[in-house]
């Protein structure tokens, strides 16, 4: 065995693989396709890894040269850890493990997660805080609330804080998550803001917040108009006139992405295939699905749109 030459060959091939990873990530960034893989807030880490891959790649190439060999730490105290041991086929397998994802990354088309993933992950209606139907006892009072608000906005808003206590019992989960005052304050303010709008426009930025409010205070939104963009998705048990307009929410990478959607009811539902991007506008009603109270949009207007620049939405962590 020519152990020396072997070691330098490993350094050389590893250097090239490191360059490959740097090029792949750089390619994703240049084409802006990185948005399908990584949330914007993680990007500083990604730039760091490109720099390190290039640096290590250069060092590995130098290491494989004759001059580099002289410096090689023959007697480094780490023993035999750094060599690839075993017969040739094992070495081929080991390097294939690194080269295959590179080729896959370069060749496979970059696209956003779609309804197939949504089906397996299970859609989260609204924000995942929908209220079970049976436990809501103030349903009777829910419809006149908008009138109440219109007649006496200040008195009504004062009563909102009282409502919070009732809701706390149902939503211990989310209240646990955000048991700080700022959470309630922020959402109360947003709620008031939204209820004053003639049409509630759901944007990339406020998507998850509006979903949360729709779940927590559905009765206050009934009758209001909502405009929302997303891809079409259906659960297997849906009736023909129903579909979901959904978005993936990504915290860091696609492994943690969850699907958040709003039910839409229209006679034309069959015209829209899964994964089509549409913008819908309609009135919010209340419906029941699998024992949960959910908002449903009765369709007024629908436009087929192209996939938005940012197909995912991101939690804002205010």
């Amino acid at each position: 065995m020519n152990g020396r030459g072997d070691l330098s060959f490993h350094a050389y091939i590893r250097g090239i693989i490191l360059f490959g990873f740097a090029l792949l990530i750089l390619g994703l960034i240049i084409t802006d396709n990185i948005k399908y893989y990584i949330a914007p807030k993680m990007m500083p880490f990604i730039y760091f890894s490109i720099a390190v891959f290039f640096l290590l790649g250069i060092i590995q190439i130098f290491r494989s040269t004759k001059k580099g060999e002289l410096d090689e730490e023959d007697d480094c105290d780490c023993g035999l850890d750094h060599q690839v041991s075993g017969p040739t086929w094992i070495k081929v397998v080991v390097y294939s493990i690194f080269i295959l994802p590179l080729l896959m990354g370069f060749i496979t088309p970059d696209q956003a997660l779609n309804s197939q993933i949504a089906a397996n992950r299970g859609i989260i209606f609204g924000s995942g805080n929908a209220q079970p139907v049976a436990t809501i006892d103030d349903e009777l009072s829910s419809t006149p609330r908008t009138d109440q608000f219109l007649n006496d906005p200040e008195g009504y808003l004062a009563s909102l804080t009282e409502d919070e206590f009732d809701d706390d019992i149902e939503h211990f989960q989310i209240e646990d998550f955000y048991d700080e005052d700022w959470f309630n304050e922020y959402y109360d303010e947003l709620l008031i803001e939204l209820l004053e709008e003639p049409v509630i426009e759901v944007t990339d930025e406020n998507y998850l917040d509006v979903m949360t409010l729709l779940d927590l205070h559905l009765e206050k939104f009934v009758g209001k108009e909502l405009e929302i963009t997303g891809f079409v998705f259906r659960e297997p048990d849906f009736e023909d006139n129903r579909l979901v307009v959904a978005r993936f929410s990504m915290t860091c990478c696609t492994a943690d992405a969850g699907v958040y959607g709003t039910l839409v009811e229209t006679e034309e539902a069959s015209l829209f295939d899964n994964d089509m991007w549409i913008r819908v506008r309609g009135t919010i009603h209340e419906t029941e699905y699998h024992g949960y109270k959910l908002p449903v949009v009765q369709l007024r207007e629908v436009t087929v749109v192209s996939e938005p620049d940012s197909p995912y939405v991101y939690p804002s962590f205010r």
């Binding site: 090029l23 240049i30 990584i38 290590l56 370069f106 496979t108 915290t251």
Partner: protein, 342 residues
Amino acid sequence: MNLKESASSLVKDLLGVALLLVFLLLFFNYDRITTSSFIDIPTSIVNVNTIFISIIIEAFPFILLGVFVSALIQIYVSEDTIQKYLPKSALGALFPAAVLGAIFPICECAIVPVVRRLIKKGMPLHVGVVFLVGAPILNPVVFASTFYAFRNNPTVLYSRMGLAFILAILIGAIIYFIFRKNTDQLKWSRDELVGKQVTQVITPQKKRNRVKQTMYHAADEFFMMGKYLIAGAFIAALFQTYLDRSILQALGTNEYSATFVMMVFAYVLSLCSEADAFVAASFANNFTTSSIIAFLVYGPMVDLKNTVMMLALFKTKFVLVFITTVTVVVFSSVLLLEFFIL
């Protein structure tokens, strides 16, 4: 140099150049390849690819941080130094070992060879075990990533760190009592038994090259750990694409089965402790907080890729006893946490 040898080195050089050319070619035609439809790949395969590439790109910066810090320790901190400060009493060493594990910013892939080296240099087996289970969780990078992933639920972060610290000591103590009489649980290669490795001496003039050596170590460690990461990410991507999570949810309806399911999941997915918090966050809606904590505590201590590494380095019986101990301890402590604290 004879003809055969030079021919083989020429082939190797060409192989590398060809590989580099392929990468460059793909890079400069990136837009054309990924947007054209001349390669018709089924949607589900594209989805596997999307999640797979996403996980590895996400994990790379954390892995690189890990290998750099580990390489620095490798070069600048000698095992003798660490050993010198460990108390002589067997059980008294457990607590300082857990604290030291918290200072060691090494993730689960890097810790296996480090612990092996420490044990070879004379560190007691049970102290090594404390490192093995504690260090991957108790480190700043994992703290940061768990903080980011569960920014809206700090209970997860504190429970994860607290449990890891206490359980590392507990597991170390249990291993001490089981293997008290038979502490030699490493597999020794023939070379090492002959004494090939022991003859190594660090000569003073080598110190000049420490920066370079750190780089070499970092690169080598990246490749040593990277293969387990990539293989693990691929299996995880398959699960992510094809596993219907409603099945999991059906299994995870009560505290016992939810905790158990999440532990099995942590084992199979074999995620790096530096990135697993992000995956756990995706389950936060469907699973109880305590089962999420079980996922985050159990995964870094024992998982599929780690078992593969351990079986290569430790005796089989030891690996089995170790896994059983960790499983029982984590499961029961998470249930205790669920009933008494959360």
